[in-house]
């Protein structure tokens, strides 16, 4: 095992073996890949080609079939539409088909002039027939044997009556063959179908179309199958299969399901085919074209064999080639290997090229190998020389390095200076300090031993002058100048004119180096100016001193470097150096100057910003609003005193803290949302409840504005202003409470309450409204006031609503419609203004009890009136009828007395008299009763009655009694009233008679009749006497019929008088009352309306 592994390994390590494997692999891989791909591509293409071909054939056959079919149909239609055919057909159906000459003539015409010629021209039809539409009888046919037969149940007849119809082929027994019918209706002039024209089509033609081959392939065939899987055309492989064979192949099944497409399946012979099928929906037929797979894919199989063969050949060839090639390579290599071994032992001998074989590469390899051998010897010789040369080079480089070090030292100064300046800048030093540092450093560089150095002059704000910014370092000069000009520690200013050197330097923007004495003089002269010396003459003198200044200073070189920021001059640096300055110095100074200029400018900006910030902060600190600043993440960076005041936190308690500190958990979302909005640049305000340090909730409105970094444009935080709205909240709550109170009040109302606007839209309602109507609040929003009133009352309610809006107040009694049924309600509406718009406020109460009571009362009254009437009639009738027997008793009594008085003893006479008296009294009572009832039953029409006249008449009538009793009757001024004259007379007669009757035995009666017209509508008549009076306990009794207060013997009468009086007064719509004091007198008071409505009289026949 191990040995075989080693063997394989050793083989593997051999070049020849590997080359062979490689060649084989290189040959097989592309061949297989290309071969397989080519096979699949080609076979797919071939397959597609076959399917395409079958599809094309199928479509061609279909269109051929359709054309044939359409032609047949068209022919039949044209024939059916011929005017003569229609005319004859119409006539024919009206005739009896049997033994009728006329019928036979028409039939012959149709047959010979129309059907037969058509048949002769068109060979597709075997015969043509006209079938009577009403019963399916074949009347005319080119095939005589068909005439007289009935086709009433055949599809082509039934469908042919409706439209042109193609019946798919069926076997027809009568004709002993498979036939295909085409039929079409024949109509009369009114469009009625009178006949069906039908034709039998030669199916062989259809078969011919299908079996006609396309010659694309040997095995291809086309056939048609009907919806019952029945083959209806002949096939190539079986004769007589049409209409006999059913085919259930995969292609047919799929096609009958209504699909078009292709498939690979076994055909009806069981042979694998490629099939293409089409479902012809209109004809209910399936058209298939099939080709044997063996034939269709023959080319594919051939291709496969060819490819395989090619691959095998290629593999064999490449194995051979590989073996040959490797052998011709490995052999020379082995040769070289041996010689290389000999090279080390210096026994090297070049080999003639011819011996190396034929390959160019091997030959050149051999040559190179030889050359390499000789070069190796040459190298050895030159190696030492090269080492020496390198050593010299290294020494030279060492020198260069030293020089570079020196240069580096020089530049260290510059860097130091820049560093110093920068560090002072970073430390936030002021401008003055930066300038001092700079001047000091420059001086150290260029004038280390003497008291000279650098001056930094900056442009004044107006740009007119240069001002020396650093402290003068030359004390000697300073003292001299002071001495010369008497100015003490002056601010050195150099005005800029066109003729001075400073101006020139600043304008040019380029550094200048002054080395000539006169130039330096000129330079110093610029210093001496009117800012020091106001007198012109002194100034000129002073300027002459410039050379002396130079001498004092001992300058022999001055460098002037302009300071510019973005090419705008801001000042200049002046260096007075001991040794002449070089151009390099100037360049260096220029760089340093730029650095300084930038530093100056930045420092200036910072100072400005600082000032501005101080200003802003002072504003923020002092404004009355609470202001806070936050970073982008919601942490506070600033709070003003007002905010401290509002929130109760000290600034150091807030700064660096998040909003969460101030907001209760339930408000966090608001804060986060607001931050999110602000980060998008939205300025907005929102309400939120914060938490004061003492834990109280603090409603505030926060107005926040986002801030964005002016450089990066990023959201850098927000400034928020807090407005305390707790007071507003309290006010709102108070309003809400008040509203709740009024709501409660409305809801506690016993009735219903609602409020709606001019459009009838409900704005408000109470709980009762919902409970009583059964409506929900949602339904109320859509409801109209009239929805709550029953239909019969809606006109009334609409009117009330209009009046309510117009007049401000309205009352309405209507039936309130609820979901539970209608209920009578009494509505009070009153107009009110809400937000300037008129609204109607309605309250209502259930009055069903009252209405019911009213109803009951009305009913009772009617009943009562009827019963009263009945009673009155009864009383009238009764009394009337009672009179008769009483009168008889009276009459017979009289007769008894007149004829038999002598035959009676005294007791008998007494009995008789008492009987007569009783009868008389009965009569009297009946009469009184009659009188009483007559008040209602025999009342007269109302008319104008002068009471004075009536009273006078009564007095006249009672004259006897007045005289007897010595009575005094006084009558006041009495009015005229509308009344029943007789009854008024009766009334006053009774009253006056009573007053006279019931007088005190020893006192003559005094009677007063007065009228107290307290009211314009009624008259109050009183009859006052000084008679015996009666006890108040009898007040009720006196007006009841036959009630007597006194003995009959004391005061005569039946006791009906006052009852009649009351009845009369009542009939007049008035009232009567009495008051009395026993033994003093009585007052009867009658109240009667003056303008009584004109009552009709009531008369009953006696």
């Amino acid at each position: 095992m191990v040995s075989s592994m080693n063997q394989i390994k050793s083989y593997w390590n051999r070049l020849g073996f590997r080359f062979t494997i490689l060649f084989v692999f290189l040959a097989i891989l592309p061949m297989v890949v290309v071969g397989v791909q080519a096979y699949f591509t080609a076979s797919a293409a071939l397959e597609q080609d076959v399917i395409n071909r079958l599809a094309t054939i199928t479509l061609l056959k279909e269109s051929e079939f359709n054309r044939w079919n359409n032609n047949n149909q068209e022919l039949l239609r044209l024939l059916a539409q011929r005017p003569l055919v229609r005319e004859y057909a119409t006539a024919l159906v009206l005739l009896d088909e049997r033994d009728n000459i006329e019928f036979e003539g028409l039939r012959r015409n149709l047959l010979q002039d129309h059907l037969q010629p058509t048949l002769d021209v068109e060979s597709s039809y075997i015969d043509l027939a006209l079938i009577r539409a009403r019963d399916g009888l074949v009347l005319v046919s080119t095939d005589e044997t068909l005439e007289g037969k009935y086709r009433e149940s055949d599809d082509f007849f039934i469908q042919g009556k409706l439209d042109t119809f193609v019946q798919h082929p069926v076997y027809h027994l009568g004709e002993e063959k498979a036939i295909m019918h085409i039929s079409t209706p024949v109509t009369d002039n009114d469009g009625r179908v009178v006949m069906v024209l039908s034709g039998h089509v030669d199916l062989n033609e259809m078969s011919k179309i299908q079996t006609r081959r396309s010659n694309f392939s040997a095995s291809e065939e086309t056939y048609i199958v009907n919806h019952s899987n029945l083959l209806i055309t002949e096939t190539r492989f079986e004769t007589g299969a049409a209409l006999r064979k059913s085919i259930f192949t995969q292609g047919v099944t799929s096609c009958l399901a209504g699909n078009d497409g292709f498939g690979f399946y076994d055909d009806y012979r069981g042979i694998p085919v490629v099939g293409y099928y089409r479902w012809m929906a209109e004809e209910n037929l399936c058209l298939l074209t099939e080709e044997d797979q063996a034939e269709a894919f023959l080319a594919v199989e051939q291709l496969f064999a060819t490819t395989l063969f090619t691959i095998i050949v290629a593999v064999i060839v490449s194995v051979g080639l590989g073996l040959l090639t490797t052998r011709s390579i490995t052999r020379p290599l082995q040769e070289l290997e041996q010689r290389a071994a000999s090279l080390a032992t210096s026994l090297y001998e070049p080999l003639p090229t011819e011996e190396m074989g034929r390959f160019e590469e091997i030959v050149s390899l051999n040559q190179s190998f030889d050359q390499m051998a000789s070069e190796i010897h040459e190298r050895d010789r030159h190696l030492e020389e090269q080492v020496l040369a390198r050593t010299a080079e290294v020494q030279e480089k060492a020198k260069e390095l030293e020089l570079a070090n020196e240069f580096l030292q020089q530049h260290t100064w510059d860097l130091t200076l820049v560093n110093e300046v920068n560090s002072s800048l970073l430390q936030g030093d002021s401008l003055d300090e930066i300038i001092d540092v700079f001047a000091e450093k420059t001086r150290e560089m260029y004038a280390p031993s003497k008291d000279k150095g650098a001056a930094i002059l900056l442009l004044s704000d107006d740009g007119d002058q240069l001002i020396l910014k650093n402290k003068p370092v030359n004390k000697e000069l300073d003292q001299r100048i002071q001495k010369l000009f008497g100015a003490k520690d002056p601010e050195i200013r150099i005005p800029l004119h066109s003729d001075n050197l400073h101006q020139q330097v600043i304008q040019s923007g380029e550094p200048r180096l002054f080395t000539q004495s006169d130039e330096i003089d000129m330079w110093f002269r610029d210093f001496i100016n009117e800012t020091w010396i106001k007198q012109p003459w002194l100034l000129n003198q002073a300027r002459k001193l410039a050379p002396q200044i130079r001498k004092i200073i001992g300058d022999n070189c001055i460098a002037a470097i302009p300071l510019t920021v973005e090419s705008e001059p801001i000042g200049l640096i002046e260096i007075s150096a001991e040794t002449p300055l070089t151009k390099e110095d100037v360049q260096r100074l220029k760089i340093i100057a730029n650095q300084l200029a930038v530093s100056i400018q930045r420092t200036r900006h910072e100072e400005e910003i600082h000032a501005l910030r101080e200003f802003n902060e002072s504003i923020v600190q002092t404004v009355p609003g609470a202001i806070m600043a936050q970073d982008p993440n919601g942490y506070f960076t600033f709070v003003n005193p007002e905010a401290v005041n509002l929130l109760g936190y000290q600034p150091d308690e807030l700064i660096g803290k998040h909003w969460k500190l101030l907001t209760p958990t339930d408000q966090h979302e608001i804060i986060f949302a607001a931050d999110e909005r602000r980060s998008q640049g939205i300025v907005d305000s929102y309400e939120i409840e914060l938490e004061h340090k003492n834990g109280q909730r603090l409603p505030v409105i926060i107005k926040g504005s986002p801030r964005f970094d002016s450089f990066s444009g990023e959201f850098s935080g927000s400034l928020v202003i807090l407005t305390d709205i707790s007071q507003i909240r309290q006010a709102e709550e108070a309003i809400l409470k008040e509203k709740n109170f009024s709501d409660d009040m409305i809801n506690s109302l016993p009735g219903i309450f609602c409020l709606f606007d001019v459009d009838g839209k409900f704005i408000h309602w109470n709980q009762n409204f919902l409970e009583i109507t059964g409506y929900t609040a949602e339904e109320m929003k859509r409801a109209h006031p009239n929805d709550f009133i029953v239909a019969e009352d809606q006109i009334k309610s609409q009117e009330a609503i209009i009046n309510g809006f117009a007049e401000g107040r309205v009352y309405l009694e209507a039936r309130f419609k609820t979901k539970y049924g209608p209920t009578p309600y009494y509505f009070v509406g009153s107009r009110t203004l809400i937000e300037g718009e008129p609204h109607l406020m309605g309250t209502a109460i259930d009055i069903s009890d009252r209405v019911m009571a009213e109803e009951t009362l009305k009913q009772r009254t009617v009943e009562l009136e009827r019963s009263n009437q009945d009673l009155e009639r009864f009383a009238y009738i009764a009394s009337h009828d009672l009179q008769e027997p009483l009168r008889k008793v009276q009459a017979f009594g009289d007769r008894l007395r007149s004829k038999y008085e002598d035959k009676l003893d005294e007791r008998g006479i007494d009995y008789l008299l008492r009987m007569q008296e009783t009868a008389r009294r009965g009569q009297e009572m009946v009469e009184d009763l009659l009188t009483y009832s007559r008040v209602s039953t025999r009342g007269q029409k109302f008319e104008s009655v002068n009471l004075t006249q009536v009273v006078n008449k009564v007095i006249e009538e009672l004259k006897t009694s007045i005289d007897l009793t010595d009575a005094l009757v006084s009558v006041g001024i009495l009015p005229t009233i509308n009344a029943d004259a007789n009854q008024v007379h009766q009334l006053l007669h009774h009253l006056l008679d009573n007053a006279l009757k019931f007088h005190r035995p020893d006192t003559p009666p005094v009677i007063r009749i007065n009228v107290d017209e307290g009211d314009s509508n009624q008259v109050v008549l009183s009859v006052c006497d000084n008679g015996i009076g009666f006890d108040v306990q009898f007040l009720e009794k006196v007006f009841q019929p036959f009630q007597r207060l006194h003995g009959r013997h004391d005061y005569p009468g039946t006791g009906i008088g006052l009852a009649i009086c009351q009845k009369i007064v009542e009939r007049h719509g008035g009232s009567i009352s009495a008051s009395s004091i026993p033994e003093k007198g009585s007052i009867f008071t009658i109240t009667i309306p003056i303008r009584n409505e004109n009552k009709r009289g009531v008369i009953f026949n006696d």
């Binding site: 049997r98 399916g136 005589e144 044997t145 007289g148 037969k149 009935y150 086709r151 009433e152 149940s153 599809d155 798919h168 082929p169 069926v170 076997y171 027994l173 009568g174 002993e176 498979a178 009907n226 019952s228 899987n229 029945l230 209806i232 299969a241 209409l243 006999r244 064979k245 059913s246």
Partner: protein
């Protein structure tokens, strides 16, 4: 080596298929009462048996021939016979008389009843029968079709001289009778043999409004209600056999020859070929039935006084098995 492997694979397949737990239940025993004696008229049934269609449905079938004096309704009515092949018109009449049977499919959708006359007689339609002699079967329902045809055409039957058909065409061939009754898949075939070069006119009742089904497969009401699965399976195999017979007449005749009384292959083949158009007309699948046809048969039987009172159509036949077989 290769062939051995192939054999092994085949053996495995065989063993596996044998293992399939399909035929555990014993086959249903089905007896079929045929309408007439064994002949190619029933080739479809024989083919179904021979091709193993019944076996596939786990049915063991037994055919009982009919003939003169055999009541083909009796067995199916009392349950001795599972199915019976009868005439559709006689089914209606027997049903009306209370036999508890109903049709599940109609094999012969076109009635083979036909009237035959020589072409030279000039008789082309029933109208031409007037004053002629017509040979008809003495009884049986076939004459109904004849009379219904006359009724439809308004012909008085008394104007036609009808004589008894004696299953012998000699009177017709001799010219003693002008018209004779015949059966397309039966007596017509030997008749055609005997006429020589003369031609026949065939008068089909179907051309005159009379559309009678012929051989109809019936079953007892109880079977239909209690074992519909058996009915369905039997019908499926039977229809398959008929399809096979139509497509492969030679094979079907081979199957018929096992039973056929007349052991003449040519005769049986001719009979089968003649019956194919009666079974498979191209309109609808094999065995299919149409309400209008049943209604038409019933109406004619009633008009002709064969039925005393109208009958409920739904008692006569059911479509549910055909609909199952054809997946409708």
């Amino acid at each position: 080596m290769k062939s051995r492997m192939l054999i092994t694979i085949l053996l495995i397949i065989l063993v596996l298929s044998a293992c399939a737990p399909e035929k555990e239940a014993p086959p249903d025993q089905v007896t079929v009462q045929l309408k007439w004696v064994h002949q190619a008229q029933f080739a479809g049934f024989y083919a179904a048996e021979a091709q193993g269609f019944y076996a596939q449905e786990n049915i063991d079938v037994n055919f009982v021939p009919g003939g003169v004096g055999i009541d083909i309704f009796e067995g199916v009515s009392n349950g001795d016979v599972t199915f019976s092949v009868v005439g559709a018109d006689s089914l209606i009449v027997e049903r009306a008389e209370g036999r508890p049977v109903a049709a599940v499919a109609t094999i012969y959708r076109v009635n083979p009843f036909v009237l035959v006359a020589f072409s030279n007689s000039g008789i082309t339609s029933p109208r031409d029968f007037i004053g002629r002699s017509v040979a008809l079967l003495p009884d049986g329902y076939d004459s109904v079709q004849f009379h219904a045809m006359l009724t439809n055409l308004g012909i008085d039957a008394s104007e036609i001289n009808t004589v008894n058909y004696t299953y012998d065409d000699t009177p017709f061939l001799n010219g003693d009778v002008d018209v004779t009754v015949s059966f397309a898949a039966g007596s017509l075939l030997p008749l055609k043999e005997k006429i020589g070069n003369r031609e026949l006119n065939l008068i089909w009742p179907g051309d005159y409004g009379v559309h009678f089904y012929s051989d109809t497969l019936i079953a007892n009401d109880d079977l239909i209600a209690e074992n519909p699965n058996l009915v369905l399976r039997f019908l499926r195999a039977t229809l398959k056999g008929h399809r096979f017979a139509i497509e492969n007449p030679e094979d079907a005749v081979d199957a018929s020859m096992r039973y056929a009384v007349v052991q003449d292959r040519e005769v049986q083949l001719a009979m089968l070929n003649a019956s194919i158009p009666l079974i498979h007309t191209g309109e609808g699948p094999i065995g299919w039935m149409v309400t209008d046809d049943w209604q038409g048969m019933h109406d004619i039987l009633f008009e002709q006084g064969i039925l005393d009172s109208p009958l409920d159509l739904s008692q006569m036949y059911t479509m549910k098995f055909l609909e199952s077989v054809y997946g409708e």
